[in-house]
């Protein structure tokens, strides 16, 4: 059945990519946020999720799907001729004005667009994942074009203009650009990644100042720390390491519910005060998705038990519990109010951020179950539950079996 379904195309997710490239779309646009200002973000998540699902399951139909989408994006990118490819309503105007230094920003608005860098990041991350997990080299070329375009847009901004721009949610732009630097070795992308470095959350964390995230929108800020963690791995810049570690400590110790989730109506409150923050709209699932990414990086840097204690808590209580086990629909909020009821997404008319990150969540459980160590600690197992085995070298899983038994 899945084979049949996978033989159909994802043209509805590509609708506005075609439209914005001046090409007749092959099918109609989906509903929900895909019909609104965040359109295109789902395709990015979908690329990431299918790429990881291919790696996790070995099912080649997912790679075929990735290859198809990348090919279509290449057509759109070529038609536009700027290096950019996207599906955001009115995006040419938003970014043209930004490049000229005309900036109206705040919260989730940048020049009238709904967090446009957030959506750009999702598409870029999807392309990077298509390259990393499916070896799609065209995806790397497309995303390099998008990165160069990003440099063209933000390169001429003054620091004042750039910092003004960063008051609108920008997702993990620093993270994906740092990864493009790691993949290509071209330092311009590393420099570009620091264009997405703010002075009101990141700089205070780097300087060891008091909690700068209290009262702020949670999921706007977690990706910043992920990017800093990656930059730290690639540069050893102490401030970036500080941002990543301190963000995690402040978030987990002062703002996180017992479930491992955070945020009430998406926002963080005063430190260490959650007793009166139990509503139907607690713990946005994207926050756990991003906190797990951050935790994985920190564990590689310093494999502390406390990191994986948190990971296990958030994975079971928040991420795993965000999926309806009967029909795979996703939660935006996990309600912690007494008597609260879960509100799941709809198949085709929701497409919130948490539907997008939810597609990925369940495709990459294998990522952090085991870690390789060294010396007397050659293997780390993250959870008590014995839920996976190491496949090891293809066709010769003996060594992995040995490890699994010891697990």
């Amino acid at each position: 059945m899945r084979g049949y379904l996978l033989s159909l195309s994802p043209d509805r997710l590509l609708n506005r990519f075609f439209k914005n490239a001046g090409i007749q779309p092959k099918d109609s646009v989906y509903g929900g946020w895909e019909h609104e200002g965040l359109s295109g973000h789902t395709l990015g998540h979908y690329l990431s999720a299918c790429s990881m699902m291919y790696a996790s399951s070995g099912d080649e139909r997912f790679r075929d799907r990735v290859n198809y989408i990348v090919g279509q994006l290449a057509i759109c990118q070529k038609a536009r001729g700027t290096g950019y490819v996207g599906a955001i309503p009115n995006e040419d105007s938003i970014f043209y004005r930004l490049k000229r230094g005309e900036i109206k920003s705040g919260g989730f608005d940048l020049n009238g667009g709904w967090s446009p860098w957030y959506t750009v990041h999702k598409v870029m991350a999807g392309l990077v994942d298509a390259y990393l997990y499916c070896d799609n080299k065209e995806a790397l070329e497309i995303v390099k074009g998008m990165a160069d375009w990003t440099g063209d847009i933000v390169g001429g901004l003054t620091d004042e203009q750039r910092l003004k721009m960063l008051h609108c949610e920008f997702g993990g732009m620093n993270d994906v650009l740092a990864n493009i630097y790691a993949i290509t070795g071209e330092e311009k992308y590393l420099h570009l990644s620091y264009k997405f470095y703010d002075d009101f959350v990141m700089q205070p964390l780097a300087e060891g100042k008091a909690d700068p995230i209290a009262g702020k929108h949670s999921n706007t800020n977690i990706p910043k720390a992920i990017g800093s963690a990656r930059q730290y791995e690639l540069t050893a810049a102490a401030g970036d390491g500080m941002i990543a570690r301190r963000f995690w400590e402040i978030m987990v110790h002062d703002h996180t519910y017992v479930t491992g989730g955070d945020g009430n109506y998406e926002y963080l409150g005063a430190p260490d005060k959650l007793n009166d923050a139990l509503s139907d709209n607690t713990t946005e699932t994207c926050c756990a998705y991003n906190m797990l990414k951050l935790t994985g990086h920190l564990f590689c840097q310093e494999p502390l038990g406390s990191l994986m204690d948190f990971y296990e808590r958030a994975l079971y209580n928040d991420v795993l519990a965000s999926q309806n086990p009967k029909d795979a629909m996703m939660l935006y909020f996990e309600p912690l109010r007494t008597g609260g009821k879960k509100q799941y997404s709809d198949s085709f008319n929701t497409f919130t951020c948490c539907v997008g990150s939810g597609m990925e969540d369940h495709a990459k459980y294998t990522e952090d179950i085991y870690f390789e160590g060294g010396g007397w600690k050659p293997l780390y197992q993250s959870f008590y539950s014995f839920c996976a085995e190491l496949a090891g070298e293809e066709g010769d899983p003996d060594a992995a079996d040995e490890l699994s038994r010891k697990g």
Binding site: L5, D129, Y133, C300, E372, Y380, C387, L390, A400
Partner: protein, 83 residues
């Protein structure tokens, strides 16, 4: 609450990464990354394809259900028709 387990396994382990599939977390044999981490790392992620979820685990169920969702997105069919 330190329920985290260290495993002490003697000898070398013959896990080999594939030729390309890498994660964005650092791996020991990061063939896809030209720039290697410059800080001393103490743990490395496994390649997604080197770990397989076991049948019967809730994670495997969630992954299979998710794979089904992709099919739904493609087809326009309601979830309950295929799951």
């Amino acid at each position: 609450m330190t329920k985290y387990l260290f495993l002490f396994v003697a000898g070398s382990i013959g896990i080999q990464a594939g030729s390309f599939a890498q994660s964005y977390l650092p791996e020991k044999r990061d063939e896809a990354m030209k720039v290697k981490p410059v800080i001393p790392l103490k743990a490395y992620a496994f390649n997604l394809k080197d770990v397989r979820l076991l049948e019967g685990s809730p994670f495997k169920h969630a992954m299979d259900m998710d794979a089904g969702l992709f099919a739904v997105v493609e087809s326009g069919q309601a979830a309950e028709q295929i799951l």
